[in-house]
Protein backbone atom coordinates (compact mmCIF):
# COMPACT_ATOMS: atom_id res chain seq x y z
CA UNK A 1 0.00 0.00 0.00
CA UNK A 2 2.62 2.42 1.08
CA UNK A 3 4.81 1.29 -1.74
CA UNK A 4 2.13 2.08 -4.29
CA UNK A 5 1.66 5.67 -3.19
CA UNK A 6 5.35 6.17 -3.22
CA UNK A 7 5.51 5.00 -6.78
CA UNK A 8 2.49 6.96 -8.00
CA UNK A 9 3.58 10.37 -6.85
CA UNK A 10 6.67 10.61 -9.04
CA UNK A 11 4.71 9.29 -12.01
CA UNK A 12 2.25 12.16 -11.75
CA UNK A 13 4.98 14.68 -11.20
CA UNK A 14 6.81 13.35 -14.19
CA UNK A 15 3.75 13.60 -16.35
CA UNK A 16 3.24 17.23 -15.34
CA UNK A 17 6.86 17.88 -16.01
CA UNK A 18 6.61 16.26 -19.42
CA UNK A 19 3.62 18.32 -20.38
CA UNK A 20 5.34 21.51 -19.36
CA UNK A 21 8.46 20.50 -21.27
CA UNK A 22 6.36 19.85 -24.35
CA UNK A 23 4.67 23.20 -23.99
CA UNK A 24 8.03 24.86 -23.75
CA UNK A 25 9.21 23.11 -26.88
CA UNK A 26 6.08 24.25 -28.67
CA UNK A 27 6.53 27.87 -27.61
CA UNK A 28 10.18 27.67 -28.61
CA UNK A 29 9.28 26.29 -32.04
CA UNK A 30 6.53 28.83 -32.67
CA UNK A 31 8.74 31.75 -31.74
CA UNK A 32 11.71 30.36 -33.61
CA UNK A 33 9.72 29.85 -36.77
CA UNK A 34 8.44 33.39 -36.93
CA UNK A 35 10.43 36.40 -38.07
CA UNK A 36 7.86 38.74 -36.55
CA UNK A 37 7.19 39.04 -32.83
CA UNK A 38 4.28 36.88 -31.69
CA UNK A 39 1.53 38.20 -29.42
CA UNK A 40 1.55 36.71 -25.96
CA UNK A 41 -2.18 36.14 -26.35
CA UNK A 42 -1.58 34.09 -29.48
CA UNK A 43 0.92 31.91 -27.61
CA UNK A 44 -1.53 31.46 -24.77
CA UNK A 45 -4.20 30.37 -27.25
CA UNK A 46 -1.74 27.81 -28.63
CA UNK A 47 -1.09 26.25 -25.24
CA UNK A 48 -4.69 26.13 -24.16
CA UNK A 49 -6.22 26.76 -20.76
CA UNK A 50 -4.22 26.58 -17.59
CA UNK A 51 -0.74 26.62 -19.06
CA UNK A 52 1.90 28.61 -17.23
CA UNK A 53 2.89 30.64 -20.28
CA UNK A 54 4.58 33.34 -18.27
CA UNK A 55 6.70 30.84 -16.39
CA UNK A 56 7.61 29.12 -19.63
CA UNK A 57 8.61 32.38 -21.29
CA UNK A 58 10.69 33.36 -18.26
CA UNK A 59 12.43 30.03 -18.29
CA UNK A 60 13.09 30.18 -22.02
CA UNK A 61 14.39 33.72 -21.68
CA UNK A 62 16.77 32.65 -18.93
CA UNK A 63 17.89 29.63 -20.94
CA UNK A 64 18.75 31.74 -23.97
CA UNK A 65 20.24 34.65 -22.07
CA UNK A 66 23.77 33.30 -22.48
CA UNK A 67 23.34 31.96 -25.97
CA UNK A 68 23.82 33.51 -29.41
CA UNK A 69 20.13 34.09 -29.76
CA UNK A 70 18.04 35.90 -27.14
CA UNK A 71 14.35 35.79 -26.39
CA UNK A 72 13.10 39.38 -26.19
CA UNK A 73 9.76 41.05 -25.60
CA UNK A 74 8.47 44.29 -27.07
CA UNK A 75 5.03 45.63 -26.30
CA UNK A 76 3.74 42.26 -25.19
CA UNK A 77 5.07 40.42 -28.22
CA UNK A 78 7.86 37.89 -28.10
CA UNK A 79 10.59 37.08 -30.57
CA UNK A 80 13.98 35.48 -30.87
CA UNK A 81 16.67 37.93 -31.91
CA UNK A 82 20.43 37.56 -32.29
CA UNK A 83 22.31 38.66 -29.18
CA UNK A 84 23.18 42.38 -29.19
CA UNK A 85 26.80 41.78 -28.16
CA UNK A 86 27.37 39.82 -31.38
CA UNK A 87 26.47 42.90 -33.42
CA UNK A 88 30.08 43.70 -34.40
CA UNK A 89 30.40 40.20 -35.86
CA UNK A 90 27.06 40.17 -37.65
CA UNK A 91 26.60 43.78 -38.66
CA UNK A 92 25.41 44.52 -42.12
CA UNK A 93 24.09 47.64 -43.75
CA UNK A 94 20.67 47.37 -45.28
CA UNK A 95 18.12 49.83 -46.49
CA UNK A 96 16.48 49.58 -43.09
CA UNK A 97 19.43 51.35 -41.61
CA UNK A 98 19.99 53.77 -44.43
CA UNK A 99 20.61 57.20 -43.04
CA UNK A 100 17.55 58.97 -41.79
CA UNK A 101 17.66 62.73 -42.03
CA UNK A 102 18.40 64.60 -38.85
CA UNK A 103 14.91 66.06 -38.99
CA UNK A 104 13.41 62.55 -39.16
CA UNK A 105 15.52 61.27 -36.28
CA UNK A 106 14.64 64.22 -34.06
CA UNK A 107 10.98 63.95 -34.96
CA UNK A 108 10.99 60.24 -34.17
CA UNK A 109 12.51 60.73 -30.74
CA UNK A 110 10.16 63.59 -29.92
CA UNK A 111 7.22 61.33 -30.80
CA UNK A 112 8.75 58.52 -28.74
CA UNK A 113 9.36 60.60 -25.62
CA UNK A 114 6.40 62.97 -25.76
CA UNK A 115 3.67 60.75 -27.14
CA UNK A 116 0.87 61.33 -27.73
CA UNK A 117 2.11 64.48 -29.43
CA UNK A 118 0.66 66.69 -32.15
CA UNK A 119 2.53 68.01 -35.12
CA UNK A 120 2.32 71.55 -33.74
CA UNK A 121 3.95 70.34 -30.52
CA UNK A 122 6.73 68.62 -32.44
CA UNK A 123 7.34 71.84 -34.30
CA UNK A 124 7.32 73.82 -31.09
CA UNK A 125 9.99 71.57 -29.60
CA UNK A 126 12.17 71.56 -32.70
CA UNK A 127 11.60 75.22 -33.42
CA UNK A 128 10.98 74.62 -37.12
CA UNK A 129 8.16 73.52 -39.35
CA UNK A 130 8.00 69.82 -40.15
CA UNK A 131 8.54 69.13 -43.79
CA UNK A 132 5.90 67.00 -45.42
CA UNK A 133 8.01 63.94 -46.04
CA UNK A 134 9.18 63.48 -42.46
CA UNK A 135 6.11 61.89 -40.89
CA UNK A 136 5.50 60.02 -44.12
CA UNK A 137 8.91 58.34 -43.93
CA UNK A 138 8.53 57.42 -40.28
CA UNK A 139 5.07 56.01 -40.91
CA UNK A 140 6.22 54.02 -43.92
CA UNK A 141 9.00 52.54 -41.80
CA UNK A 142 6.18 51.36 -39.53
CA UNK A 143 7.52 53.23 -36.51
CA UNK A 144 4.75 55.76 -35.93
CA UNK A 145 0.98 55.81 -36.24
CA UNK A 146 -1.76 58.30 -35.61
CA UNK A 147 -3.27 58.22 -32.13
CA UNK A 148 -6.37 59.81 -30.70
CA UNK A 149 -7.30 63.32 -31.57
CA UNK A 150 -6.54 65.89 -28.92
CA UNK A 151 -9.72 67.39 -27.49
CA UNK A 152 -8.58 70.95 -28.04
CA UNK A 153 -9.65 73.48 -30.66
CA UNK A 154 -9.07 72.07 -34.10
CA UNK A 155 -8.99 68.54 -32.62
CA UNK A 156 -5.46 67.95 -33.87
CA UNK A 157 -4.27 64.41 -34.56
CA UNK A 158 -1.68 63.00 -32.21
CA UNK A 159 1.14 60.63 -33.10
CA UNK A 160 2.37 57.53 -31.30
CA UNK A 161 5.13 55.00 -31.78
CA UNK A 162 4.27 51.43 -32.75
CA UNK A 163 5.36 48.05 -31.38
CA UNK A 164 7.60 47.77 -34.47
CA UNK A 165 9.44 50.85 -33.23
CA UNK A 166 10.17 49.12 -29.93
CA UNK A 167 11.21 45.96 -31.80
CA UNK A 168 13.54 47.85 -34.11
CA UNK A 169 15.33 49.63 -31.29
CA UNK A 170 15.33 46.63 -28.96
CA UNK A 171 13.09 48.21 -26.32
CA UNK A 172 10.69 46.17 -24.26
CA UNK A 173 8.42 49.11 -23.55
CA UNK A 174 8.40 52.89 -23.67
CA UNK A 175 9.65 52.90 -20.10
CA UNK A 176 12.93 51.56 -21.47
CA UNK A 177 13.58 54.58 -23.67
CA UNK A 178 17.08 55.77 -22.84
CA UNK A 179 17.05 58.34 -20.05
CA UNK A 180 13.29 58.72 -20.02
CA UNK A 181 13.04 58.80 -16.22
CA UNK A 182 15.66 61.50 -15.88
CA UNK A 183 14.04 63.59 -18.56
CA UNK A 184 10.67 63.31 -16.89
CA UNK A 185 12.13 64.13 -13.49
CA UNK A 186 13.81 67.20 -14.98
CA UNK A 187 10.46 68.35 -16.34
CA UNK A 188 11.76 68.19 -19.89
CA UNK A 189 8.87 66.02 -21.07
CA UNK A 190 6.29 68.45 -19.71
CA UNK A 191 3.70 69.79 -22.05
CA UNK A 192 4.60 73.25 -20.78
CA UNK A 193 4.56 75.65 -23.67
CA UNK A 194 7.91 77.31 -24.05
CA UNK A 195 8.05 80.04 -26.62
CA UNK A 196 5.81 77.80 -28.67
CA UNK A 197 3.83 80.51 -30.24
CA UNK A 198 6.85 82.19 -31.63
CA UNK A 199 8.41 79.33 -33.45
CA UNK A 200 5.59 77.18 -34.68
CA UNK A 201 4.19 78.05 -38.01
CA UNK A 202 1.25 75.72 -37.47
CA UNK A 203 -2.29 76.91 -38.04
CA UNK A 204 -2.85 77.31 -34.35
CA UNK A 205 0.14 79.54 -33.87
CA UNK A 206 -0.89 82.93 -32.63
CA UNK A 207 2.04 85.25 -32.24
CA UNK A 208 1.97 87.33 -29.11
CA UNK A 209 1.29 90.91 -29.99
CA UNK A 210 4.65 92.16 -28.82
CA UNK A 211 6.52 89.72 -31.01
CA UNK A 212 4.44 90.48 -34.02
CA UNK A 213 5.09 94.17 -33.61
CA UNK A 214 8.78 93.85 -33.30
CA UNK A 215 8.96 91.35 -36.13
CA UNK A 216 7.41 93.85 -38.42
CA UNK A 217 9.83 96.60 -37.58
Amino acid sequence: MTAETVIEAPAELEEGFDRRAEQMRLVEAVLFASAEPVEEAALAARLGEGADLRGILDELQAHYSHRGVHLVAAAGRWAFRTAPDLAPLLQRETEVTSRLSRAAVETLSIIAYHQPVTRAEIESIRGVATSKGTLDILMEAGWIKPGRRRETPGRPLTWLTTPAFLDHFGLESLRDLPGVDDLRAAGLLDARPAITTLFSRGDDAALPRAVEDSAED
Binding site: L100, G127, M139, A194
Partner: protein, 283 residues
Amino acid sequence: MADARGPDDEWSAAPALEPAAEGEPALLVDLGEFEGPIDLLLTLARDQKVDLTRISILALAEQYLAFVEEARRLRLEVAADYLVTAAWLAYLKSRLLLPTPETEEPTGEELAQALAFQLQRLEAMQNAAARLMARPRLGRDIFPRGAPEDLPVFERRVTEVTLYDLLRAYGDIKRRQQKTGPLHLPPVDLFTIEDAIRRVEAMLGRLPDWTRLDRFLPPDWRGGGTSREDKLKARSALAATFVATLELAKAGQLEVRQDGTFGPLYVRRTDTPAAPPIPDKEP
Protein backbone atom coordinates in the same frame (compact mmCIF):
# COMPACT_ATOMS: atom_id res chain seq x y z
CA MET B 1 36.72 77.33 -46.61
CA ALA B 2 36.95 73.62 -46.25
CA ASP B 3 34.65 71.86 -43.87
CA ALA B 4 36.95 71.21 -40.98
CA ARG B 5 34.43 69.09 -39.24
CA GLY B 6 34.48 65.34 -38.97
CA PRO B 7 31.46 63.26 -39.81
CA ASP B 8 31.02 62.37 -36.16
CA ASP B 9 30.05 65.86 -35.19
CA GLU B 10 26.57 65.62 -36.55
CA TRP B 11 25.08 65.83 -33.11
CA SER B 12 27.31 68.45 -31.67
CA ALA B 13 27.84 70.71 -34.62
CA ALA B 14 29.85 73.67 -33.50
CA PRO B 15 28.76 76.94 -35.02
CA ALA B 16 30.52 77.71 -38.20
CA LEU B 17 32.11 80.80 -36.78
CA GLU B 18 35.71 80.14 -37.52
CA PRO B 19 38.67 82.39 -37.96
CA ALA B 20 39.25 82.64 -41.67
CA ALA B 21 42.42 82.94 -43.63
CA GLU B 22 44.05 86.32 -43.88
CA GLY B 23 42.22 88.77 -46.05
CA GLU B 24 39.04 86.78 -45.74
CA PRO B 25 36.06 87.89 -43.70
CA ALA B 26 36.56 87.11 -40.05
CA LEU B 27 33.51 84.91 -39.84
CA LEU B 28 32.31 82.03 -41.89
CA VAL B 29 28.59 81.84 -41.65
CA ASP B 30 26.49 79.02 -42.92
CA LEU B 31 22.97 78.59 -41.72
CA GLY B 32 22.41 75.56 -43.90
CA GLU B 33 23.58 73.12 -41.27
CA PHE B 34 21.20 74.23 -38.56
CA GLU B 35 17.76 72.78 -38.04
CA GLY B 36 16.16 76.14 -37.48
CA PRO B 37 16.76 79.06 -35.13
CA ILE B 38 16.44 77.12 -31.88
CA ASP B 39 19.03 74.68 -33.09
CA LEU B 40 21.35 77.56 -33.94
CA LEU B 41 20.76 79.12 -30.51
CA LEU B 42 21.49 75.78 -28.88
CA THR B 43 24.73 75.44 -30.80
CA LEU B 44 25.78 78.92 -29.77
CA ALA B 45 24.78 78.16 -26.17
CA ARG B 46 26.90 75.01 -26.11
CA ASP B 47 29.80 77.24 -27.02
CA GLN B 48 29.40 79.12 -23.78
CA LYS B 49 30.55 75.83 -22.29
CA VAL B 50 28.45 76.09 -19.18
CA ASP B 51 25.47 74.16 -17.99
CA LEU B 52 22.42 75.20 -19.97
CA THR B 53 20.66 76.11 -16.73
CA ARG B 54 23.34 78.69 -16.01
CA ILE B 55 23.59 80.14 -19.47
CA SER B 56 23.53 83.89 -19.96
CA ILE B 57 20.49 84.45 -22.11
CA LEU B 58 21.50 88.05 -22.68
CA ALA B 59 24.91 87.06 -23.99
CA LEU B 60 23.29 84.38 -26.10
CA ALA B 61 20.83 86.83 -27.62
CA GLU B 62 23.68 89.17 -28.50
CA GLN B 63 25.66 86.33 -30.02
CA TYR B 64 22.71 85.23 -32.12
CA LEU B 65 22.03 88.75 -33.33
CA ALA B 66 25.68 89.17 -34.29
CA PHE B 67 25.62 85.83 -36.05
CA VAL B 68 22.55 86.62 -38.09
CA GLU B 69 23.83 90.10 -38.84
CA GLU B 70 27.01 88.56 -40.17
CA ALA B 71 25.06 86.02 -42.16
CA ARG B 72 23.06 88.78 -43.77
CA ARG B 73 26.16 90.81 -44.49
CA LEU B 74 27.91 87.94 -46.20
CA ARG B 75 25.22 85.93 -47.82
CA LEU B 76 22.48 88.48 -48.20
CA GLU B 77 19.73 86.07 -47.36
CA VAL B 78 18.56 84.50 -44.16
CA ALA B 79 15.43 82.41 -43.80
CA ALA B 80 12.46 84.21 -42.37
CA ASP B 81 12.42 82.00 -39.28
CA TYR B 82 15.84 83.23 -38.32
CA LEU B 83 14.85 86.85 -38.81
CA VAL B 84 11.69 86.48 -36.75
CA THR B 85 13.74 84.93 -33.98
CA ALA B 86 16.26 87.74 -34.25
CA ALA B 87 13.46 90.25 -33.83
CA TRP B 88 12.17 88.35 -30.82
CA LEU B 89 15.62 88.21 -29.27
CA ALA B 90 16.10 91.93 -29.83
CA TYR B 91 12.83 92.43 -28.02
CA LEU B 92 13.92 90.08 -25.25
CA LYS B 93 17.18 91.98 -24.93
CA SER B 94 15.35 95.24 -24.51
CA ARG B 95 13.07 93.71 -21.91
CA LEU B 96 16.06 92.40 -19.99
CA LEU B 97 17.95 95.68 -20.08
CA LEU B 98 15.17 98.20 -19.59
CA PRO B 99 13.09 98.62 -16.44
CA THR B 100 9.95 96.51 -16.50
CA PRO B 101 6.99 98.55 -17.73
CA GLU B 102 3.68 98.30 -15.93
CA THR B 103 2.01 95.93 -18.37
CA GLU B 104 0.56 92.49 -18.30
CA GLU B 105 3.15 91.22 -20.68
CA PRO B 106 5.62 88.66 -19.39
CA THR B 107 8.73 90.12 -17.85
CA GLY B 108 12.11 89.83 -19.52
CA GLU B 109 13.04 87.32 -16.86
CA GLU B 110 10.06 85.12 -17.72
CA LEU B 111 10.80 85.33 -21.42
CA ALA B 112 14.42 84.37 -20.76
CA GLN B 113 13.32 81.41 -18.69
CA ALA B 114 10.98 80.25 -21.41
CA LEU B 115 13.80 80.40 -23.92
CA ALA B 116 16.15 78.56 -21.58
CA PHE B 117 13.54 75.84 -21.17
CA GLN B 118 13.10 75.60 -24.91
CA LEU B 119 16.85 75.15 -25.35
CA GLN B 120 17.10 72.53 -22.64
CA ARG B 121 14.19 70.61 -24.07
CA LEU B 122 15.60 70.57 -27.58
CA GLU B 123 19.00 69.57 -26.28
CA ALA B 124 17.41 66.77 -24.29
CA MET B 125 15.63 65.54 -27.41
CA GLN B 126 18.77 65.74 -29.54
CA ASN B 127 20.69 63.76 -26.93
CA ALA B 128 17.86 61.26 -26.65
CA ALA B 129 17.82 60.89 -30.43
CA ALA B 130 21.54 60.22 -30.44
CA ARG B 131 21.20 57.60 -27.73
CA LEU B 132 18.27 56.02 -29.51
CA MET B 133 20.10 55.79 -32.81
CA ALA B 134 23.17 54.38 -31.06
CA ARG B 135 21.18 51.40 -29.81
CA PRO B 136 21.63 48.05 -31.51
CA ARG B 137 19.06 48.09 -34.24
CA LEU B 138 17.03 45.36 -35.86
CA GLY B 139 18.28 44.62 -39.33
CA ARG B 140 21.70 46.15 -38.74
CA ASP B 141 22.99 44.84 -35.42
CA ILE B 142 20.33 42.41 -34.37
CA PHE B 143 18.63 39.98 -36.67
CA PRO B 144 15.35 38.20 -36.73
CA ARG B 145 14.86 34.64 -37.87
CA GLY B 146 16.35 34.57 -41.34
CA ALA B 147 14.36 31.67 -42.68
CA PRO B 148 10.94 31.91 -41.11
CA GLU B 149 9.08 28.65 -41.49
CA ASP B 150 5.72 28.75 -43.08
CA LEU B 151 3.59 28.34 -40.02
CA PRO B 152 -0.03 29.30 -39.69
CA VAL B 153 -0.73 32.87 -38.72
CA PHE B 154 -1.43 33.36 -35.09
CA GLU B 155 -2.95 36.79 -35.12
CA ARG B 156 -6.07 35.89 -37.02
CA ARG B 157 -4.70 38.24 -39.64
CA VAL B 158 -6.13 37.25 -42.96
CA THR B 159 -4.56 39.92 -45.05
CA GLU B 160 -1.44 41.91 -44.80
CA VAL B 161 -2.64 45.47 -44.94
CA THR B 162 -1.14 48.15 -42.79
CA LEU B 163 -2.70 51.39 -41.70
CA TYR B 164 -0.16 53.05 -43.93
CA ASP B 165 -1.48 51.13 -46.96
CA LEU B 166 -4.99 52.16 -46.07
CA LEU B 167 -4.22 55.84 -45.63
CA ARG B 168 -2.03 55.90 -48.71
CA ALA B 169 -4.88 54.39 -50.72
CA TYR B 170 -7.29 57.03 -49.50
CA GLY B 171 -4.73 59.72 -50.23
CA ASP B 172 -4.43 58.40 -53.77
CA ILE B 173 -8.20 58.57 -54.22
CA LYS B 174 -8.29 62.12 -52.93
CA ARG B 175 -5.51 63.06 -55.25
CA ARG B 176 -7.24 61.48 -58.23
CA GLN B 177 -10.37 63.39 -57.33
CA GLN B 178 -8.42 66.60 -57.40
CA LYS B 179 -7.35 65.74 -60.91
CA THR B 180 -10.82 65.19 -62.26
CA GLY B 181 -13.63 67.67 -62.02
CA PRO B 182 -12.70 71.27 -62.67
CA LEU B 183 -9.26 71.58 -64.17
CA HIS B 184 -6.88 71.57 -61.28
CA LEU B 185 -3.25 72.14 -62.03
CA PRO B 186 -0.94 70.21 -59.77
CA PRO B 187 1.17 72.59 -57.73
CA VAL B 188 4.40 73.07 -59.58
CA ASP B 189 7.17 74.14 -57.36
CA LEU B 190 8.78 76.72 -59.53
CA PHE B 191 9.97 80.19 -58.70
CA THR B 192 7.43 82.79 -59.78
CA ILE B 193 8.03 86.30 -61.00
CA GLU B 194 6.06 87.68 -58.06
CA ASP B 195 8.35 85.83 -55.69
CA ALA B 196 11.37 87.12 -57.52
CA ILE B 197 10.14 90.73 -57.46
CA ARG B 198 9.51 90.52 -53.72
CA ARG B 199 12.88 89.00 -53.18
CA VAL B 200 14.82 91.46 -55.31
CA GLU B 201 12.98 94.39 -53.73
CA ALA B 202 13.74 93.12 -50.27
CA MET B 203 17.39 92.63 -51.07
CA LEU B 204 17.97 95.85 -52.98
CA GLY B 205 18.23 97.88 -49.79
CA ARG B 206 21.13 95.82 -48.63
CA LEU B 207 23.10 95.82 -51.85
CA PRO B 208 26.40 97.55 -51.67
CA ASP B 209 26.90 98.08 -55.38
CA TRP B 210 26.64 96.36 -58.71
CA THR B 211 25.69 92.83 -57.89
CA ARG B 212 25.53 89.88 -60.19
CA LEU B 213 22.02 88.81 -61.02
CA ASP B 214 22.60 85.24 -59.92
CA ARG B 215 23.45 86.42 -56.42
CA PHE B 216 19.75 87.12 -56.00
CA LEU B 217 18.74 83.49 -56.35
CA PRO B 218 17.83 81.76 -53.10
CA PRO B 219 20.55 79.27 -52.17
CA ASP B 220 18.26 76.30 -52.64
CA TRP B 221 17.50 77.38 -56.14
CA ARG B 222 20.95 77.76 -57.59
CA GLY B 223 21.06 74.38 -59.24
CA GLY B 224 23.71 72.92 -56.97
CA GLY B 225 22.42 69.43 -57.61
CA THR B 226 22.78 67.50 -60.79
CA SER B 227 19.25 66.19 -61.01
CA ARG B 228 16.90 67.29 -63.73
CA GLU B 229 14.67 68.85 -61.08
CA ASP B 230 17.47 70.90 -59.59
CA LYS B 231 18.33 72.26 -62.98
CA LEU B 232 14.70 73.00 -63.73
CA LYS B 233 14.35 74.83 -60.44
CA ALA B 234 17.49 76.82 -61.05
CA ARG B 235 16.32 77.79 -64.53
CA SER B 236 12.93 78.92 -63.22
CA ALA B 237 14.57 80.99 -60.49
CA LEU B 238 17.00 82.60 -62.91
CA ALA B 239 14.32 83.36 -65.49
CA ALA B 240 11.93 84.77 -62.89
CA THR B 241 14.64 86.89 -61.31
CA PHE B 242 15.67 88.20 -64.72
CA VAL B 243 12.12 89.23 -65.56
CA ALA B 244 11.79 90.72 -62.08
CA THR B 245 14.83 92.92 -62.58
CA LEU B 246 13.45 94.09 -65.92
CA GLU B 247 10.15 94.96 -64.24
CA LEU B 248 11.90 96.84 -61.47
CA ALA B 249 14.16 98.59 -63.96
CA LYS B 250 11.08 99.69 -65.86
CA ALA B 251 9.70 101.04 -62.60
CA GLY B 252 12.93 102.96 -62.13
CA GLN B 253 13.95 101.11 -59.01
CA LEU B 254 17.13 99.61 -60.33
CA GLU B 255 19.63 99.62 -63.14
CA VAL B 256 20.77 96.62 -65.12
CA ARG B 257 23.98 96.36 -67.02
CA GLN B 258 25.73 93.77 -69.11
CA ASP B 259 29.23 94.21 -70.46
CA GLY B 260 28.99 92.02 -73.49
CA THR B 261 26.92 89.43 -75.28
CA PHE B 262 26.28 86.51 -72.93
CA GLY B 263 28.23 88.32 -70.22
CA PRO B 264 27.04 88.34 -66.64
CA LEU B 265 24.21 90.72 -65.74
CA TYR B 266 24.72 93.24 -62.95
CA VAL B 267 22.05 95.01 -60.95
CA ARG B 268 22.09 97.94 -58.54
CA ARG B 269 19.72 100.38 -56.93
CA THR B 270 19.10 103.55 -58.91
CA ASP B 271 19.90 105.76 -55.97
CA THR B 272 23.21 104.05 -55.33
CA PRO B 273 25.84 106.76 -55.03
CA ALA B 274 28.21 106.72 -57.94
CA ALA B 275 30.72 103.97 -57.44
CA PRO B 276 33.76 103.10 -59.49
CA PRO B 277 32.77 100.96 -62.45
CA ILE B 278 33.39 97.28 -62.17
CA PRO B 279 36.87 96.48 -63.30
CA ASP B 280 35.72 94.67 -66.40
CA LYS B 281 35.87 95.90 -69.91
CA GLU B 282 34.14 99.11 -70.86
CA PRO B 283 30.49 98.98 -71.79
